[in-house]
Amino acid sequence: MRALALIARLFRSAAKIQRKRMILTVTAIAWGTVAIILLLSFGEGLKRSLQTGRRGLGENIVIIWMGETEKAYAGLPAGRPIRLLPEDVDLVLASVPEIASAAGEMHNWNVQLVNRRTALNKRVVGVHPAYEELRTSYPQSGGRYIDEMDQKLKRRVVFLGDQLAKDLFDGADPVGMTLLVADTPFTVIGVLQKKRQMGMYGGPDADRATIPLSTFEAMFGRRYLSNLVYKPTADALAPVAKRHLMEVLGAKYRFDPADTRVLEFWDTIEDSKMMNAIMIGLEAFLGVIGALTLIIGGVGVANIMFAAVTHRTREIGVQMALGARRLYITGSVVLESLALTFAGGAVGIGIGATIVQILAAVQARVKSEAMEFLGTPTISIPIAVTTVTLLGLIGLLAGYFPARRAVSVQPAEALRFE
């Protein structure tokens, strides 16, 4: 403890002599810290923005489109179209244990929706109730999604995308109101919560109407599903789920489970893995740029420590003559270097955090697509840990080499130094 106090005392007096240079060095470190914090927090903001954007489609789901066979199978020729039926959803749920949840989906691309004098031609989809969670289509408060009873009773109820509701009802609350869907009166039961959706097929969920699948079948006389959406019980089980699903459906429709053209899979789990890999790469890149800036500050610290060590050669000689071991001398130099680095780091973290706060506040006020995509810069715990670790490393290195020089001379020589 006392030894530390001694080091601190010597450091303070050295700081007095080299005040200007120390201020410059601390500024350089602060600058580097600000750079690294801003870069990393922008990266973090972008990552989070992308994550919420992906969640808009659904979390870790797989979407299936139907195609045709490419291989002849069991005496049947290639080129047969395979179409799935709503009851295949139940079949898949019952026969593939690795699938936690599934829903069928039918699309009608052009249906007239009329509310009094407002008439719009929009997409209408019919879905199973499980679609709500699979495709993160949660209702705003005061409304609900399509449920099992709607499906069972083929109720004429409609769930509206938030943008569509705004366009049709001009901002008024549509829940409980009547809407004409292809000239048939439907009751609006809910409106989609606003969500950011990056992945989509057919268009954004915000701009379409959703009705029970059974109602859809009856109204539009459809039999086949447009898509089937499912979610595996665990991400790691996705390939097994896919294989089992192919086997089950292959047995029913008599196609080769290895035939890749029968069904087309959009595996968002794979997507998110790739996205994560890209994000890690991007963050590493930003981090490296920040670190390089910080290293320039570190060179400044090393420089000032070299000067300090030279300036104090005699002092160090005296300490060695009195019995200071090498570790004490190097330790004190490294400690001083760390003190300088962390002083700059503290200033930089303060400034960086303030800038991030200001940017976030500005962003909340300014509405812009680009800004929204970029996300809100965020300082996370890993960013803080990375920054502090880097500062520590740079401080250590910037102190280590001057410290080595300090103990490289014989005390006799150091004592002669003027």
């Binding site: 006392r2 030894a3 001694l6 005392r9 010597l10 303070r12 007096s13 005699r314 002092e315 005296v318 300490q319 060695m320 003559a321 009195l322 019995g323 200071a324 071991r325 090498r326 570790l327 004490y328 103990v407 014989q410 005390p411 006799a412 020589e413 004592l415």
Partner: protein, 247 residues
């Protein structure tokens, strides 16, 4: 090793070749400074023994090698050749940290220009070797206070070196040299920066220490000071040319 009793107060004449009882035994010490272009032989074949409770002056003109000799005795520098046994222990080839420990515990230094750290108080300067030794706080404080009593500066402990006179600074330096109860006190021109009164006072202090049983080695070019010691070693051209009891 050599016990704590002050056995034999008769180390007044140099007895080369007898290693028993010697605190310092230099044999065939050579020191060459290699400055790249030229090699300077500062010491050539120095043999010297100093026993417990001797009071020795090493004298010689400047450039004679007496400072180099003192650096080697003080383990501040290592010899190019030869053997140096400090209390029977061979110093040559010791690690840097081991030498630090030797200096810390066995050797006390008094320098011509005091070499007190100006940022620290007199108390802290004296405390420093005890810190390096790793003595606990209480022991350090008691020891430092005792030392200041001894050198008669008990009322100056909290002063900075700049607030002290030259003679006072040198007394602080003596207190510091004695902090870890060294086997030997090495003083390099201790009066060189002092006026004659203060210088005489410092030599008086050394005489006092000698009377108490300390072993002292003084490096000086001042004959008057050398004559106040008990044994004078003359160094010239890097070797001992004369070694005799002081008249």
């Amino acid at each position: 090793m050599f016990g704590n009793g002050r056995n034999g107060k008769n180390g007044k004449e140099g007895q080369n070749g007898v290693s028993n009882g010697a605190i310092i035994a230099l044999t065939g010490i050579r020191k060459v400074y290699d400055t790249g272009a030229v090699k300077v032989e500062a010491l050539r074949k120095v043999d010297l023994e100093i026993k417990r409770n001797e009071f020795v002056a090493i004298v010689g003109p400047s450039g004679s090698g007496k400072s180099t000799l003192m650096n080697i005795i003080g383990c501040l520098d290592t010899a190019t050749e030869g053997s140096y046994r400090l209390r029977g222990e061979e110093v040559a080839g010791m690690s840097i940290d081991r030498l630090s420990d030797i200096r810390n515990r066995r050797i006390g230094f008094v320098f011509q220009n005091f070499n007190l750290l100006p940022q620290l108080t007199a108390f802290e300067n004296v405390e420093m070797p005890l810190l390096f030794k790793g003595a606990p706080a209480k022991e350090r404080r008691e020891r430092v206070e005792t030392l200041f009593e001894q050198v008669g500066l008990a009322d100056r402990m909290q002063h900075r070196p700049v607030e002290l006179s030259g003679g006072q600074m040198q007394r602080v330096a003596i207190a510091r040299a004695l902090a870890c109860e060294p086997d030997i006190v090495l003083a390099d021109e201790p009066t060189g920066n002092l006026d004659s009164a203060a210088g005489s006072d410092i030599i008086g202090k050394f005489e006092e220490l000698w009377a108490k049983g300390h072993t002292l080695v003084l490096i000086t070019h001042d004959g008057a000071i050398a004559r106040r010691t008990r044994r004078i070693v003359h160094v010239q051209d890097g070797t001992v040319v004369d070694d005799a009891p002081a008249a």
